[in-house]
């Protein structure tokens, strides 16, 4: 299923091509934004849907996210930036903002910086999307998540897709905050280990 959807996407672009695309978007080239949309809309929409679960609101957010890409394109460092990371972080931030606002959340929670996330060194030399559309390892990501213990997976998914802070997760799962932190750390390390092994093989 995952691979068929990804195959259905338009031709995948290399990191270099993506960077050129962002330069054009920064220069207000609407065709470039259309190409970028074709490249990332399914991923972004799916991510938003997973978080917000409401199609009409997801559509609204998708539009909002790409218009923000249009506006903020000039802040993206096209020489060393990771477009995938930038867009995914932007999309998640906007969506988490929306659900936190809908929830009337009052606690101040960390917000990931798109720029910070996008400018980290990429050790594998390819984005996860590129790796996924390389067909071999797409399912491996899901398998990796399946391999980590249930209680750790639950904490990771709640943290990433529900917009809950660790304190809120602790309240939600009626667990001590320290346990949530430990499970997060262990889950992430385990996921990273599994993924590294899979990618190496």
């Amino acid at each position: 299923m995952l691979l068929s959807v990804l195959r259905a996407m338009v031709r995948r672009l290399s990191q270099e091509e993506e960077r050129d695309l962002m330069v054009r978007v920064a220069h207000k080239d609407s065709d470039a934004l259309a190409d970028l949309y074709d490249q990332y809309s399914t991923l972004v929409f799916s991510l938003v849907m997973r978080i917000i679960k409401e199609p009409s609101e997801a559509e609204d957010l998708l539009q909002e996210i790409f218009l923000q890409v249009w506006e903020k394109a000039s802040t993206f460092d096209s020489r060393k930036g990771n477009l995938y990371a930038w867009i995914v972080t932007l999309a998640r931030n906007r969506t988490i903002d929306r659900i936190r606002r809908n929830r009337g959340a009052r606690t101040r929670q960390q917000k990931l910086s798109e720029e910070r996330m996008a400018t980290l060194p990429n050790t594998s030399g390819e984005t996860p999307l590129e790796a996924v559309v390389g067909f071999e390892r797409a399912q491996l990501v899901r398998d990796a998540l399946e391999q980590i213990p249930e209680e750790q997976r639950e904490v990771l998914l709640l943290a990433y897709f529900s917009g809950f802070s660790q304190s809120e997760i602790a309240t939600h799962l009626t667990l001590p905050l320290g346990t949530v932190k430990t499970r997060t750390r262990q889950g992430m390390i385990k996921l990273q280990t599994i993924l590294r092994k899979q990618m190496a093989s």
Binding site: L33, T42, S46, E59, L62, L67, Q110, L145, Y160, L195
Partner: protein
């Protein structure tokens, strides 16, 4: 593994998932600044691991209309029909910065000039208004002063009239006294006392001071009633002989009650020679018609015997 490293890894895992509180995130970012290489490598690996999480979602393609909406939103808005003012702006090329600046400067200079001119005129006008107000105030004060002075003037006029009247009175009195003194002066002065006759005139009295040598005589009357305007007092010389008629010694009109009255008997009525003087026995006063009568028509009201 140290507790510090474990804490770093816990914060790092929460950080890359965006699940820390703001304070924890700041603490982690601060610790990153002093982190060693293995810690930094751990951080990078955690970030890259977190980037895989979006891929576990069920992929759903967005509806095609979203793309259309996004691209439509990027299109510039159709130019609205220009208003007259906007057409003027275009015609004057005010959309060009240089022209706009020039027009703005001209407008500014014009506005400043007009403001200064108007301001100056307004200041003058205000000054004039202030002066008018001041003058008006002064005028009112002077008007009030004039009114006060007029009142005082009227009072003074009245006083003056009164003083003049008194003065006239005094002069008259002085003249009369001089007359009396003049008449009294000398050896040949006779005094004839006249008494009131009848009940009505009993309080009345009169004196005639007669200077025989100078042939001058002065009548002083008092306590006689005022006669009506149609009547006059008339002084008579009453002869000793019954066959002779009384002779008029003068007509005088005004007599005020309770006031002394002097009447200078005209010389023509005063007998000249001794013989003539001895023909008369009385002076008498009657009330006659206006201007006097040829002979007495009424009873005398005052009479006095002549003793020479």
């Amino acid at each position: 593994m140290s507790i510090q490293q474990e804490t770093f890894e816990e914060l790092c895992a929460g950080y890359v998932l965006g699940a820390l509180s703001t304070e924890e995130a700041l603490e982690f970012e601060r610790s990153l600044l002093t982190a060693d290489e293995p810690s930094l490598l751990f951080y990078v690996e955690m970030v890259q691991t977190s980037f895989h999480l979006p891929l576990v979602v069920d992929f759903v393609e967005p509806p095609p209309h979203v793309k259309m909406k996004i691209l439509q939103a990027l299109l510039p808005e159709p130019e609205p029909e220009l208003s007259f003012w906007q057409k003027c702006v275009q015609a004057l090329r005010l959309d060009r910065p240089a022209m706009a600046w020039m027009v703005a400067c001209l407008f500014l200079i014009g506005t400043v000039g007009l403001s200064l001119f108007t301001g100056s005129n307004l200041a003058k006008l205000e000054h004039t208004n202030n002066r008018i107000e001041l003058l008006s105030e002064r005028f009112q004060q002077q008007k009030s002063t004039v009114s006060t002075l007029q009142k005082k003037n009227t009072q003074l006029q009245t006083k003056l009239t009164s003083v003049q009247r008194e003065l006239k009175q005094h002069r008259l009195q002085i003249a009369q006294q001089k007359e009396v003194i003049s008449v009294l002066h000398g050896r040949y002065v006779r005094m004839i006392t006249m008494s009131g006759l009848g009940r009505r005139y009993r309080k009345g009295y009169g004196k005639i001071v007669w200077n025989i040598r100078k042939r001058r005589a002065l009548l002083q009357l008092a306590n006689l009633p005022t006669v009506s305007q149609k009547r006059d007092y008339q002084l008579w010389l009453i002869p000793k002989s019954r066959r002779k008629r009384p002779v008029s010694a003068g007509v005088f009109s005004t007599l005020k009650a309770d006031k002394a009255y002097f009447y200078n008997i005209p010389k023509k009525f005063i007998p000249r020679s001794r013989r003539n003087r001895k023909r008369y026995k009385l002076f008498a006063i009657t009330i006659e018609k206006k201007g006097g009568s040829k002979r007495p028509t009424m009873k005398p009201i005052l009479a006095g015997r002549i003793r020479l």
